[in-house]
Each structure stands twice: as structure tokens, then as C-alpha cells.
């Protein structure tokens, strides 16, 4: 693609606008600064979530009470889930890397609605504050699990409403981001950047934005109904009031399953950028990757019932949901195949982002295949609500989105900060993190199959050794995380200056200065007819 140099003297990090200092950041409508605001907020919440996760694993180090009571454990896994799902992985890649990179990747100066973009971040902060209020004040921390299932949600004496309202506000933030991205991708692509030349990360953001727009309102409405039930006694989900608890589960999962794809699609997009760059090769099956993205976005909308196989559902509906769950595995498998095929016979340049991307494929495969065990009607009954499920979704959500997030941050870090991180420490951090991850979650597959239920602070003695390994893994993982975090923070401030295109990438963001100037491009680029995002010929 064309090399479009921007003026380096006023990059977005040093630019001084109407406001100075912190205000210059939290009131900035620049998509890059907003992306970083999300990055810092999300990493803060992620760190809190990790601490809660460590506390849970410590409790499970030995049977019986280790460090906390049952109720505290319930509250811990609820808050861990709410933080990790609603505040980390759902906004995750779209909010951070989508905001920062998508406008540059399509040759635009900003998103279509910069002020709305800032409002989305503020709504995110408001949602976070509300949830934290529920944790710190009132009658007690919510202890229903992150799903807020009825009847827990109307029986618990805990301070649930602020948490529910917080999740509702976070949903709004998500919808507005989705809307903004859709308009931006449709309207602000630079001349010559047709749909068939759009980078795959942008394509996945596009599919994700549609899910955000279509699915998030459902959970918003559901959470309002919970509030109506708790405050006004309107019977919606409580059978004593004429409501239906199963209805809640349906409504919740109609959103929350597509939300898994909100998490994973941009993750797949980031991997689809990293692999061709480090293979120095045209991506294999560009069209198939786009089609599979859109197929996942569409079919992912129709599989929510597989969360409820044991909750009471007609046999026909079960077959339907089970089959659809199997169908959604096909486009995911297509992606894995295409990534591997891209690596095949490529000029592979092994760097930290590629380590993360390769480990992403590894854990995503295990997570995906274990998902089929849960999507199958007979086996689901056996492992439902056991540690197996916890292992599966951590392999997908943490192993998928989390690994892709770290892959993305190590890939685009030189572009974002204009500095390079210490590669040795980055690789060490990755290795420790990866080993910790495997040690933490793999035993849970076994424990689940053997019958250890999830969401209990206690377990039978026969599950002890598996839990010891798992808890040990959590410490290893946390060590890796600390190394990665310190390395990145230190490098952002003191790392050596990065080149404009250190990885020899071919997408538009590598044609602008590192860090990019305030308006990204001096002149809007024009994409030539024979040019494309992965043109390594």
C-alpha cells in the first residue's frame, strides 16, 4: 500500500488541544486517545478480575474453608464474572484496538461520530462505577453469578440492582460503539478501499458491530425487567408473581451467547492480521475468512438454547440448538484451517505476537472442541454445571479473547506508543503465562468429567490433587501477567524508539508514523486497483 507519512512533530500522544493533562485525555474525541482510555480502564478491571480469580483458586487449594466463607466465595465468582465479561472481554478488542486502529486501517481521520465515541467511554466508566458501588456499599455484594439467573436475582438480599443497572449502562456503551463502527466502516473508507480490500480485522469489527447492535438491546430490556420485578413486584420471571424463570434464561442467553462472538470475532480478526504479517505471505482464503466471520455472527445469534439443555426445553428445540451449535463450529474451523494454511510455506518471522497467535490457535482449538462436548445433548447432561464448563469457557474466552488481546497489544504496541518493548521479557512473560494457563484450566476438564460441580467453595477429597495443580497454575499465570504488564508499562515510557513498520505489515496503519499524528494522515490515502491489505507479492 502507499506510504503516507504524517507529520511526526504533533503525534496524538504529545498533541495539546483545548485541555491539558488528564482532561486532555478524558475529554478527547480522538479515536486513538479513546482507544487508550479503554485500554487503561480494561487493564485495570482485568487486574481486579485476576485478583478475584486468584482468591477463588486459593480458596479451592484445599477442601473446606481455606480463606473465605461460602457466601464470600459466591460473591467473589459473581464479581469476577461480571467484571471479566461485561467490563473486560465484551468491550475488549473492539473498544481498544477497534477504536485505535480501525479508522487508520480504513484510511480515515477518525470514527464517524467522535463525540458519541467519547460518550461510549463515559458510559463504560459509569457502568463500572455502578457495579463497583454494588460491591462496596449496600446490603452485600451480589452473589447470583454473573448471569443474574432468576430465582437468585429476586431472592437474594444482596445489593443486586446497582450491579444490574451497571450492566445495562455497559450495554448502552457497547451499542453506541457498534453503531459508530458500522457507520464508520460504511462511510469513511478511503478511495479505492473496497469491501474486497478491507483488512480482516475491520471485517470482524463489522460483524461484531452488528451483533452489538442487535443483541445488546435484548439484555438491556431483560435487566430492566429484573429491576421492575424487584422494585415494583411486576411478575416477569418470579413464578410466585406469575412469571417464568426460564424466560429469563432465554432472554439472557439470546444476548449473552452472541456476546461470546462479540468477544471472539475481533480476536480472530487480530489473529488474521498477525499471521500473514509474520508469515510475510498473502492470507490464505481471504473470502472464506470473511464469509466465516459473517456466518459466525449470524449463526451465533441462534444457538443460545445450548446453555439451557438441562433447564427444561422441548426435545425438538434441543435438537435444533444442538445442531446449530455444531454448525457454528464449521466457520470457526475454517478460520483455523486458513491460519495454518497461511503459515504453510511462509517466511515465518518468529516474534512475540506470533507466539501469542500460535498459542491462541492451540487453546482456541481445545476450547472449541470441548464446546462440542457441551453442545452434544447426551454429554452436556453429564458435565453441565461442572468444572468442565468452567474450563471450556476459560479456554475460549480467556484463551481466545485474552490471548488474542495480548497478541494484538504486542503486535500494535510499536504503532501505539512509538516504542518497542523488550522482546526477551515479552517472550518470557508469554511462556510463563501460557504454562500457567494450561496448568490452571486443563485439570478442570478432568475434575468436571469426574463430577466436581462449579460454583462451590468446597469439594470432595478425591478432587484435591487436580485443584492443587489448578491453583498452582493460577500463580504461574499471575507471574507471567505481572512480567508482561511491567514490561509493557516500562517500554511505553522508556523503550527504544520503534520504526514506522517494524513487522513489515501491509495494512494502512503501518504506513503512518509511530505513534500516529493527530489526524493520522497528512493526505487521505488512495488505494490502487492492484493493491490490497496482504499484498506480499
Amino acid at each position: 500500500m502507499q506510504n503516507v507519512h504524517a507529520a511526526n512533530e504533533a503525534n496524538y500522544l504529545t498533541y495539546q488541544g483545548k485541555y491539558k493533562g488528564l482532561l486532555g485525555w478524558i475529554l478527547s474525541t480522538d479515536h486513538k486517545r479513546i482507544g487508550l482510555l479503554y485500554l487503561y480502564s480494561i487493564m485495570t478491571m482485568f487486574s481486579i478480575g485476576v485478583l478475584l480469580g486468584l482468591a477463588m483458586k486459593f480458596e479451592l487449594l484445599a477442601p473446606g474453608k481455606t480463606i473465605m466463607e461460602a457466601k464470600t466465595y459466591n460473591a467473589t465468582f459473581t464479581v469476577h464474572g461480571v467484571i471479566m465479561i461485561f467490563m473486560v472481554v465484551i468491550p475488549g478488542l473492539p473498544a481498544v484496538f477497534g477504536n485505535f486502529l480501525m479508522p487508520i486501517m480504513i484510511g480515515a481521520k477518525d470514527v464517524a461520530f467522535p463525540k458519541l465515541n467519547l460518550l461510549s467511554w463515559w458510559l463504560y466508566v459509569l457502568g463500572v462505577v455502578l457495579v463497583l458501588t454494588a460491591i462496596l456499599f449496600g446490603n452485600g455484594t451480589p452473589d447470583t453469578g454473573w448471569t443474574f439467573y432468576a430465582p437468585y436475582s429476586f431472592k437474594t438480599g444482596a445489593n443486586l440492582l446497582p450491579a444490574v443497572f451497571g450492566a445495562f449502562i455497559l450495554g448502552f456503551s457497547s451499542i453506541l460503539t457498534g453503531l459508530n463502527f458500522l457507520v464508520t466502516i460504511h462511510r469513511l473508507r478511503c478511495p479505492g478501499l473496497t469491501w474486497s480490500k478491507l483488512p480482516l480485522f475491520v471485517w470482524t469489527l463489522y460483524g461484531t458491530a452488528w451483533i452489538q447492535l442487535l443483541a445488546t438491546p435484548v439484555v438491556g430490556i431483560t435487566l430492566v425487567l429484573i429491576a421492575l420485578e424487584r422494585v415494583f413486584g411486576v411478575g416477569v420471571f418470579d413464578p410466585a408473581l406469575g412469571g417464568d424463570p426460564i424466560l429469563y434464561q432465554h432472554l439472557f442467553w439470546i444476548y449473552s451467547h452472541p456476546a461470546v462472538y462479540i468477544m471472539i470475532l475481533p480476536a480472530m480478526g487480530a489473529i488474521s492480521e498477525i499471521i500473514p504479517t509474520f508469515s510475510q505471505k498473502q492470507i490464505f482464503g481471504y473470502v472464506a475468512l470473511i464469509a466465516s466471520t459473517m456466518a459466525i455472527a449470524f449463526v451465533g445469534y441462534l444457538v443460545w438454547g445450548h446453555h439451557m439443555f438441562t433447564a427444561g426445553m422441548s426435545g425438538t428445540a434441543q435438537y435444533f440448538f444442538s445442531l446449530l451449535t455444531y454448525i457454528v463450529a464449521i466457520p470457526s474451523a475454517i478460520k483455523v484451517f486458513n491460519w495454518i494454511a497461511t503459515l504453510y510455506k511462509g517466511s515465518i518471522n518468529v516474534q512475540t505476537p506470533l507466539y501469542w497467535a500460535a498459542s491462541f490457535i492451540f487453546v482456541f482449538l481445545i476450547g472449541g472442541l470441548s464446546g462440542l462436548v457441551l453442545g452434544s445433548l447426551a454429554t452436556d447432561v453429564h458435565v453441565h454445571d461442572t468444572a468442565f464448563v468452567v474450563a471450556h469457557f476459560h479456554y475460549i474466552v480467556f484463551g481466545g479473547t485474552g490471548f488474542a488481546f495480548f497478541a494484538a497489544i504486542h503486535y500494535w504496541f510499536p504503532k501505539i506508543y512509538g516504542r518497542m518493548y523488550d522482546k526477551t521479557w515479552a517472550n518470557t512473560g508469554w511462556l510463563i503465562f501460557f504454562i500457567g494457563f494450561l496448568a490452571l484450566y486443563t485439570p478442570m476438564f478432568y475434575l468436571g468429567i469426574m463430577g466436581m460441580p462449579r460454583r462451590y467453595y468446597d469439594y470432595m477429597a478425591e478432587f484435591h490433587s487436580g485443584n492443587i495443580l489448578s491453583t498452582f497454575g493460577s500463580w504461574v499465570l499471575a507471574t507471567g501477567f505481572i512480567i508482561i504488564l511491567i514490561n509493557l508499562i516500562r517500554s511505553a515510557r522508556k523503550g527504544p524508539k520503534a520504526e514506522m513498520n517494524p513487522w513489515h505489515g501491509k495494512t494502512l496503519e503501518w504506513t503512518v508514523s509511530s505513534p500516529p499524528s493527530l489526524e493520522n494522515f497528512d493526505e487521505i490515502p488512495v488505494i490502487a486497483e492492484d493493491d490490497g491489505p496482504y499484498n506480499y507479492k
Partner: protein
Amino acid sequence: MSDLNIDIKTKILKFNLLFVLIVFSLSLFAQEVVNPVSNNNNVEIGVIEHLDEFLPDSISLINEEGQQVWLADIIDKPSVINFVYYRCPGICSPLMEAVAGVMDKSDLVPGVDYQVLTISFDPHETIDLGIRKKSNYLNLMTNKVEEAKKGWLFFTSDSASIARATNATGFKYQRTGNDYLHAASLTVVSSEGKITRYLNGLYFLPFEWKMAIVEASKGKSGPTLNKVLRFCYSYDPVGQTYVMNITKITGTIILFLAILFLLILVFKSKKKENLI
């Protein structure tokens, strides 16, 4: 380049269409929801709902001309069957007044969109009394008198047919001296004779009335508005009333807005100044 563009778009479209086809073909297996109201067969007076069952063919009636007719032949459109006895000193009169009132208020046309069949379950009664009663109740109406003359039909019957009809509809009554103890209930049947709804009580909202008849005409062509109504409301057997399908409606609105948004994005031309 543009050819390649179209080619790629076509491939993506085909791929996604395949998924849509698979998904919709699966929906063919969707099963009917079974009404959760359980039938209590020990009821002596009242109504045991026999929803989704068909009326037997062998119910003969005497019509207003004194001729013997078959109920199955008369039911050629959605029909509301109303069991009373014409001498009734009790709830039959308020029930019939409620029927006359709702027929008058409803925008559905008796005799065209539906018919009401009032059948005496006292085998000793003759049709003369039925005709007099019909005249009385038609006098209560103001808007649809002419239509109701053709669309509200009165009958008597013999004891065997009455037994078959009341058993088939689950209408339970008891004789006490010269009179009967019975419930106030209307049975709505489709033009194929299938029982689709029971309307109980002595007051019917025009909306409920319309919904019950629209439901009974399911599968038949009707005004589009009626189809929309059937989509938006479903019968709540516990509350015995029609309730709005909030999930269906909000889901449809969300999808509609999303499609509208997509169409605007695709078809509304870009403004020059936006091409920054």
C-alpha cells in the same frame, strides 16, 4: 477489479445464504406448544377445556325454520358456540346480552367473518322460544342488527345430540328441578370444527372477541391486520386473557430498525465531505 469485487461479494452471499437455508429448514421441525392448563375431569358444573379437539359430525340441531340440520354443515366459518336454555332465569340472559353487546361493538361482521351459534341444552325446548329470544337480543343491538340476523343463529336439539355436543366441548351442567346449574362460557371453533378457545365470564372485550375469532380463522386468509394481531398477542390460560407478546414485538422492532439502518447505509449515497 470491480469484477473481482462482485465475485467476492457473490461468494460471501452464497455462503451465508447456505447457512440461512439450513437454519430455516430446521425450523420446519419446530413443534406446537401444548396448552399447560390441565383438565380436571371431576368438575360437575363448569367447563373442562378440550382445546385442539374436533367436534363430532353427528350433532343434529333444529334451526330457526324448524328443519333438522347438522352442526358440522353449519360450521363453515369461525363460530362461537353458546350453550344456554331459553327459559333460563339465571346467567343466560346476562351472557346473551354480553354476546349481543360485543357483537355490536366488534368491527368483525357476523355472518361474514364469523357466526354465533346459540344452542339450547334443554331437549324439551322448542325453536319458537329461541326465535323470540333472538328477536329480544337483536333489539339490544344498534350497529349490526341486520348482520346479526344472519350471523347469530339459534337452535334446539335432542338429548343425544346435546350430550354429544356438550361432552365434546366439555360444558358440564346439572339439572335441578325444572332448571339447570351451568357456567357462562363460549366455545370458539374454527371452520373445520376444531375447538380453539374458550371465553368465560359475562363480559367480553371487543378485543378479546376479535382475537379469539382471528385465532380460529388461523390458516385461512384474513385481513393482514388480523395476522399482525395474532403475532402480537397470545392467550394467557392462567389470567384467561390475551397478553401482548413483548419479546416478539421488541425483537421485531429491533430487527426492523437494524434492517432499515443497513439499507440507509448501503443505499444512501455518501456525501462528498465525508470522504475525508
